[in-house]
């Protein structure tokens, strides 16, 4: 009798342990570990994912990492993309949806040498020189349309700031929360202009997943997004622990630049100063504007319905 009882107890404890095993999820970033992902690393480091039974593995990306396609093809469950990528991929039949937007104001900008005396983006485009910008990207097409008859010469954007440091006539796209700070640390002051100010302001650094997966796993997705939100609230308050981890992963950015970036990006994340529980939430109006802009730029042939592009948690 004792043997049977012992066997049942072992069986029950095994089943319980099985049930408590955390769900493994891969979370793909589209760039190296930087403060734009600080909240995700904070959520991971604080053990909040584990508390909600989620075993999240954050993987870094690089130039051209096809995160949207990886998510749409279920190679990873969650990933980071730009809002315009979500619209374009949906218009092409991919089943992806946005769940959380880190940046309410998109920090994409153009960084120039201050000694050139530019006062606006118009000056950058209407003066001779070189501008490194991602060819064919929505922000590049938007700016080209915005400033017809431009004089600047476009060259490919390869990431990094090596050419900016050596060429005084060189301007480049940047996150105003990142590259200008690195350039300054390397002894080259940089001036930056926000593309959002010119009228193109999609949500930046957006968490995406497959719509079908989200529909089937509502609780898990809600848990993940709530944890991410808590991570960001904590990162805005105390960025040091995540920065200490990220600086080891990304040697291109030193601890001081990370600290500065975390401070500078606060206003881009908080936007108009929404309460903490609203962090990362998106509106139909913003998505609708983006759809119309991408349609006008001829980047999509059909307009996806705005409320199918995102889901707030």
């Amino acid at each position: 009798m004792k043997i049977i009882l012992g066997f049942v107890l072992i069986l029950l404890s095994t089943v319980a342990a099985w049930g408590a095993q955390a769900t493994q999820l891969q979370f793909a970033l589209n760039w190296k570990a930087e403060p734009e992902f600080g909240g995700f690393y904070t959520a991971k480091l604080s053990g909040s994912f584990q508390k909600r039974n989620l075993d999240v593995e954050i993987t870094e990306g690089g130039a051209g990492t096809p995160v949207v396609q990886m998510v749409a093809n279920s190679k990873v469950r969650f990933g980071i993309a730009a809002a315009d990528e979500v619209v374009i991929s949906q218009a092409r039949g991919a089943d992806v949806v946005a769940l959380f937007a880190v940046y309410q104001i998109n920090p994409q900008g153009i960084m120039v040498h201050p000694e050139r005396g530019f006062k606006s983006l118009g000056d950058v485009f209407n003066s001779p020189g070189t501008l490194a910008i991602q060819s064919g990207s929505p922000h590049a097409l938007f700016l080209q349309k915005q400033f017809p008859g431009y004089k600047v010469t476009f060259v490919p954007y390869a990431g990094g700031i090596a050419t900016f440091l050596t060429d005084p006539n060189f301007s480049q796209q940047c996150f105003v929360t990142s590259e200008p700070l690195i350039a300054r640390r390397k002894g080259k002051p940089a001036q930056s202009f926000l593309i959002a100010d010119a009228g193109f302001n999609p949500y930046g650094t957006v968490v995406i997943a497959r719509r079908q997966y989200v529909a089937k796993n509502q609780k898990q997705t809600r848990d993940l997004i709530n944890t991410v939100r808590e991570g960001w609230i904590e990162y805005l308050r105390a960025p040091e622990p995540a920065n200490n981890t990220m600086v080891k992963l990304n040697r291109a950015m030193d601890a001081v630049s990370m600290k500065e970036a975390a401070e500078v990006q606060k206003s881009f994340i908080l936007g108009a100063g929404a309460p903490a529980q609203e962090l990362g939430k998106m509106t139909m109006e913003r998505w609708g504007t983006l759809v119309n802009q991408l349609y006008d730029l001829k980047l999509i042939k059909t307009k996806p319905v705005a409320d199918k592009l995102f889901q707030n948690f």
């Binding site: 051209g64 949207v68 396609q69 749409a72 093809n73 990528e85 374009i88 991929s89 092409r92 039949g93 991919a94 070189t130 991602q134 060819s135 064919g136 990207s137 010469t153 476009f154 060259v155 490919p156 390869a158 990094g160 090596a162 050419t163 050596t166 980047l299």
Partner: protein, 257 residues
Amino acid sequence: MNFKTKISSLLPPLLPLILGMALAEITVRSGWVPSYLIPAPSEVIRSLIDDRVELAVAAWTTLSSALAGLLLSFTTGTLFAIALSASDLARRAFYPYAVFFQTVPIISIAPLLVIWFGFGQPTVIASAAIVSVFPIIASTLLGLKSTEPALIDLFTLYSASARQMLYMLKIPFALPQIFSGLRIASGLAVVGAIVGEFIGGGGLGSVVDSARTQQRIDRVFAAVLISALLGAVLVGAVNLISALTLGSWHISERKAS
């Protein structure tokens, strides 16, 4: 060759292509594979038609850069191989560096090329030349070191100078190997040019970069198809020059009677 024979010789390479395209079309159209991962061949053909002007201009830019890069690598590679063949000491001193040069991944040094040569064609030509130079060095050196010893003895017997030995014996004898290296290098020059264009701008590399950003994989495939054709055209041109140069005397190009 009559019409029937021509068709029967074309059928073996064409059949897998037609079957492969039909299979891809069915797979994508039936929804087994989403079109944002692999485009249907019909979409690629549509992109080739719709974007023909942009693709033609880009193809010409890539071809001209690849040709310039190939010319540069052929000139420097041949001269380098001749110098190495002239002295065992030089070969032992420098050949390992040529091998090392071959193993440098071009994609990792391409951003440096921009810093050294600037944006645009110079960087693209340099990239094409770097990628394509090693097969030329290796093949030319092999050819120059493979001259029949009996012929060298004969030239020595007739008191031929080193220059005469090189121009009248060693180089003609090495031509089949030189063309062999050039065939490999011509395909690589196109690859090198496209990698250079990713960083330096212009050409098919730029088209691929832009299309990838816009998730237009039909256009990516169209550009890749054209770049493969460019490689084939260059290899074909080398084959033609090889046949014209060697056809009258070398067994490798002589037609079976």
